[in-house]
């Protein structure tokens, strides 16, 4: 943000970047990476008998 100050006046904030009004914002596709695999759990050993 650029601040333009003049003594006795309200500071004016001039934005450095603004969206281009002529560009329709795109919906970015949701990430398609597979979720990290959970570690395989070994079945608990049950004492025989």
């Amino acid at each position: 943000m650029i601040h333009a100050h003049q003594p006795g006046a309200q500071p004016i904030d001039i934005p450095e970047v603004i969206p281009n009004p002529a560009v329709v914002p795109r919906q970015e596709p949701a990430p398609k990476e597979p979720a990290p695999k959970n570690p395989v759990k070994e079945p608990e050993k049950v004492p025989a008998g």
Binding site: I2, N20, P21, E33
Partner: protein
Amino acid sequence: MPCGCKLEDLLAILHDRAPAKADAVALQRRRVEHGLLSVGIKIHELGDGSQFLSLVERLGGALRVLESNMYKHAQASLCLVLPPVGNARAAILLLECIEHFIGSTLFGNRKIQIQVCSPGRLNPRRSALLAIGFYLGSDTLRRYRCGDLETTVSRDHRYQRGQRLVIYDAGGDFDRGFEWWERVGSGNDRLIRRELPFENGRTDLLTGNGSRLDIENINLLATLLIHAERQGYWNELGKQFEDEMLSLLDRHLLAGLVSAPWVRSDGAEDLDDTTFFSALQELVAYVFQESARVKKTSGIHFSEWHELPARSLGILYEMQSLLTKYRTEVIRQSCLHEHGGRT
């Protein structure tokens, strides 16, 4: 300029956290789409660079990956030079892989400056059209301060590239292994060469905190302009684009901007950046004023707004309309060839 790494090595590392996208890049890495140019990317990190440490380490360490290259944005802690790929989509995917790996965004990030590199050096006038076209077509309208475009080669003894949006290459590595389309016969037949016709030479654009759209637009603009310069397949379309772009600027009394020095060539005697900066500021002031005007008049119902011809809506809409027209035409003509037709 040396590439910091081989694409195979980079993809193998990125595969750990972004397997699907890394595989997609590997598949498309040499694929040229519709005869458009290959795309190289440089990432300038304006923060402390800590998020890239692990990636740089795995690629072989800073000495090998970063310090072989003296070029970077003056405020950057590091500049990662990515190997070129065959199309804009693959370049975007590659950046998305890196986003996954480092765990933070690269697009639209104020601490990241994306430099888009296109093969072939455009002449100064076409470099001006590339820069102006990029600026008007971007999804973000930016103001620039003196120093925003300062790099380590702005004032050095050897290159003296000045502060510019458009920067020529500094020699070094150049990957020619991408298709180049030409017209042969009476101009109706397509010849696909396996190599680019340039032995080296690039025209780069410092987008600032760039977006996916910026990469796609620069790729389209650079293709049209370099084909017009080197009589490539898109020569006629490129020249038509130039004429339309010049008349667009003329309608808005901005045609004089094209004569400003938007790029500094080797051996240029004038080291002064002010003529370029004045031209850039004139463009920026016009566009910000235009944006405010559009905002004021946006009371019109949305559906009516989109029915109005671009010309009556102002320069930003006209530029979008021009980009859409030429993107559509490139795809249409290239598909016509794929299906056995002639263009």
